[in-house]
Structure formats: structure tokens, C-alpha cells
């Protein structure tokens, strides 16, 4: 089974080809806002160098966010084009699940976090203490946007949280490492290389879904663009002053 994995939901552009769970090719580049120029040429390059053709793929895995609005749109429209012309199944994944999947075998609570700027993160929670047959079923919180102080409170409200190890992973950690260390929880951090969503992980997780018989109607897939909470501003008052 040949899977193409694509992620451009953060500053990184991750693409990969995975054949029966073996990495054939992978590219992870910090492109920031150049996703639109580089995504297709980079995919073409991956195929050229690996001696596969785009027609060879059996499925596509793509991240749906949360993340950068523009990046999400670019990846998803590219995938829609491929899926339509190649008639292959598509799996849409949460970028947070992709990050957390790096730690799917670790005993602990996994908190993936993507920087949503101004001390807010896109985040979720996975509980590896649960003995479930798939990582997907260990999800406790849906993807949401939280201010870091609210995330800290929310974690502390979990029963017997002090007996549990918490693993934070994602680019939110690069930005807010200091704040997170001060959470006063049993905090563990990911190795830096795990803090970015990676193309091969997207492809591997996608293959898990496809093998479990899960795929999505590509034309109904939408980017999961989460609204960021803002300080409430009383504009009526400001304007009447």
C-alpha cells in the first residue's frame, strides 16, 4: 500500500511517501508562507527521486488543522485535485493527532499544542493510560483553542492529575516552554524533532485509518480552522467616548 502524506498546517511543509509502512521518501521544510509556491513542486520532486509515479498511490492522508488558514487551504485543495483525478481514498487528520501520535506508545497524558499566537494554543488531550485498541480512541478532548492559563486550569481539573505524567508536544512548546514549565504539573517535553508535524507521521497515521476501513468523502472535507478566543473588547463603549 503506497500512501502519500501531506501537511502544511503550520510553518512546516511535510510530505512523504510510505510503502507498506516503510518510508520511501520524506521532506520536511520550514516554508512559512511559501506553501502555495512550493507544495506541488516538492511533491513532484519526491516522486522523481523515489522512482514512483503519482498514479501508483493507493491513498492520501492530509492534515485538516487546526493551523494556518492559508496552509490548510493549499494542502486540502491540492489533495482534492489528486483524489478527484486518481480516484483514491483520502483520510483527513487532525494536525494535533499527528503530533500526539509520536508519543502513542508512551505511558502518560499527551498534550499536543500548536501556537495560535499571543499565549494561546490549539490543543487536545490523549490518554495513553487507557487500554484502547487504537490511538484514535484515546482522545479525551476535541481540538480547541485555549489560552495557556486556561489550559493549565483544565489540566489541573483532571482527577488524580498529580499521579500522571504529562507529555507536551508541538511548536507551542518552542514558543511557550517557560510558561509550560511553570504549570506546576508533572511535565515532560518532547524531543525537539517531534515538535513539528512530519510528513511520514501523517502518512503512517493515515495508513492506520485506511487499514481500519476509515476514509473520508474528499469533497466534504473542510479545513478545521478554529477561531481564536480574544479579550472581549467593548467597542460600543470605545466608540461612544
Amino acid at each position: 500500500m503506497l500512501i502519500l502524506g501531506i501537511d502544511s498546517s503550520t510553518e512546516m511543509a511535510g510530505i512523504s511517501l510510505l510503502a507498506d509502512r516503510k518510508i520511501i521518501a520524506e521532506s520536511n521544510l520550514a516554508l512559512y508562507r511559501r506553501h502555495s509556491e512550493r507544495l506541488l513542486p516538492n511533491i513532484a520532486h519526491l516522486f522523481q527521486e523515489s522512482n514512483y509515479e503519482i498514479n501508483d498511490i493507493d491513498g492520501i492522508a492530509v492534515t485538516l488543522g487546526p493551523g494556518s488558514f492559508t496552509g490548510l487551504r493549499i494542502a486540502l485543495s491540492t489533495v482534492k485535485g489528486f483524489a478527484h483525478s486518481l480516484s483514491v481514498p483520502v483520510v483527513g487528520l487532525s494536525t494535533l493527532e499527528v503530533l500526539a501520535y509520536n508519543y502513542s506508545e508512551v505511558q502518560g497524558l499527551i498534550v499536543p499544542m500548536i501556537d495560535a499566537r499571543r499565549e494561546r494554543v490549539y490543543t487536545a488531550l490523549f490518554d495513553n493510560y487507557l487500554k484502547k485498541d487504537s490511538f484514535r480512541k484515546k482522545r479525551i478532548w476535541d481540538d480547541s483553542t485555549l489560552a495557556l492559563k486556561d489550559l493549565s486550569e483544565k489540566l489541573k481539573s483532571i482527577p488524580s492529575i498529580n499521579t500522571k505524567k504529562i507529555y507536551f508536544v508541538g511548536n507551542g512548546l518552542e514558543e511557550y516552554g517557560q510558561i509550560i514549565n511553570n504549570f506546576d504539573l508533572n511535565t515532560n517535553s518532547a524531543n525537539p524533532a517531534f515538535n513539528k508535524p512530519r510528513g511520514a507521521v501523517v502518512a503512517e497515521l493515515g495508513e492506520n485509518y485506511l487499514k481500519a476501513g476509515i476514509s473520508h468523502d474528499v469533497f466534504k472535507l473542510k479545513p478545521n480552522y478554529l477561531k481564536k478566543p480574544q479579550a472581549e473588547i467593548n467597542f460600543k463603549k470605545i466608540e461612544s467616548e
Binding site: Y225, Q230, A231, I238, E239
Partner: protein, 160 residues
């Protein structure tokens, strides 16, 4: 929030000049909200900001494009939300992504964006006093915007 302060301009040229002085003092990431009727000088003011930032492209009203980008010393993003119907439309043009770039963001008809804005912005209300004369009421919220007001006050007569 201080109570509102204002600047009087006697013609289009002066309105543009105030925009230019503001551009001279602006820091990356500044959000400027421009309110006022058609013909009250909002786009003229943005032309002044663009001139200060050495943008090479001619500034025109973004009513139909929604967002115009002007590369320069800092990139100027000039938006006009007049044609948008609801907040979903706003999200669907990628509005929030623009807020966190290191450019200058000038937004005409900003009401639809109120729920998405960070708590640091300069709000300017353009009032038509007579055929050519305009009253620009300024309100700064947040540290960055208050500093911008202070910088501007060194060059312009801002009245209370």
C-alpha cells in the same frame, strides 16, 4: 483608554500627510481601524501610510478586492470589509492570518472584525466637517497603539 483626541485637516493633502506621519512612527504588527462615511478620507489616509513605507504601488480602495497588499519597508495590508456579510465570510478570506504578520494592517469598515481583533489597535473615526475639512478622532487601545499616538503627537497638533 483615554478619552478621544482629534486632529483637524483642511483638505485631502493634509489628511494624507497625517497618514504619512503615522506611517513614519508605526511599528510592525500595528492594527489601524478606519471608520467614516464614503469620501471622508479613509483611503486618502492609507495612501499617506503607504507613502511613508515607500510602497511602490499606487494605493486604491480595496472595496472590490477586500485586501490589497503593498510591499515596502513594512508590508501594508489594506482591507475593506464593506462588502462582507458576516463573520464566516471574514474567516473564509483568511482574515485572522493577516493579524499576526509583521506588517501594518489598515481596516476600513472594521465592525465585522471586532470579535477577532487583539486588544491593541488604533481606531480613527473620520468625520466630514465641510466640503474639504475633516475631523479625525483617534482612540488608542493597548501599549503599541498608545505609543504610536505619543509618537504622532510630537509632530501633529492632537487636541482633546
Amino acid at each position: 483608554m483615554s478619552k478621544s483626541e482629534y486632529i483637524i485637516t483642511n483638505n485631502e493633502k493634509e489628511t494624507k500627510k497625517i497618514g504619512k506621519l503615522l506611517g513614519d512612527n508605526v511599528q510592525p504588527g500595528q492594527i489601524i481601524l478606519l471608520k467614516g462615511d464614503l469620501g471622508s478620507g479613509k483611503t486618502r489616509f492609507v495612501k499617506g501610510i503607504a507613502a511613508s513605507l515607500n510602497s511602490t504601488n499606487e494605493v486604491s480602495s480595496p472595496t472590490y478586492n477586500l485586501i490589497n497588499e503593498y510591499p515596502g519597508k513594512m508590508t501594508l495590508y489594506h482591507m475593506d470589509l464593506y462588502r462582507l456579510d458576516n463573520e464566516n465570510d471574514l474567516l473564509n478570506i483568511g482574515f485572522e492570518d493577516y493579524l499576526y504578520r509583521d506588517g501594518i494592517i489598515a481596516i476600513e469598515w472594521p465592525e465585522l472584525a471586532y470579535d477577532f481583533l487583539p486588544a491593541d489597535f488604533l481606531l480613527i473615526n473620520f468625520e466630514i466637517v465641510s466640503e474639504n475639512k475633516r475631523k479625525l478622532k483617534l482612540k488608542a487601545k493597548g501599549e503599541k497603539s498608545k505609543n504610536l499616538m505619543k509618537g504622532l503627537a510630537e509632530y501633529v497638533d492632537i487636541r482633546n
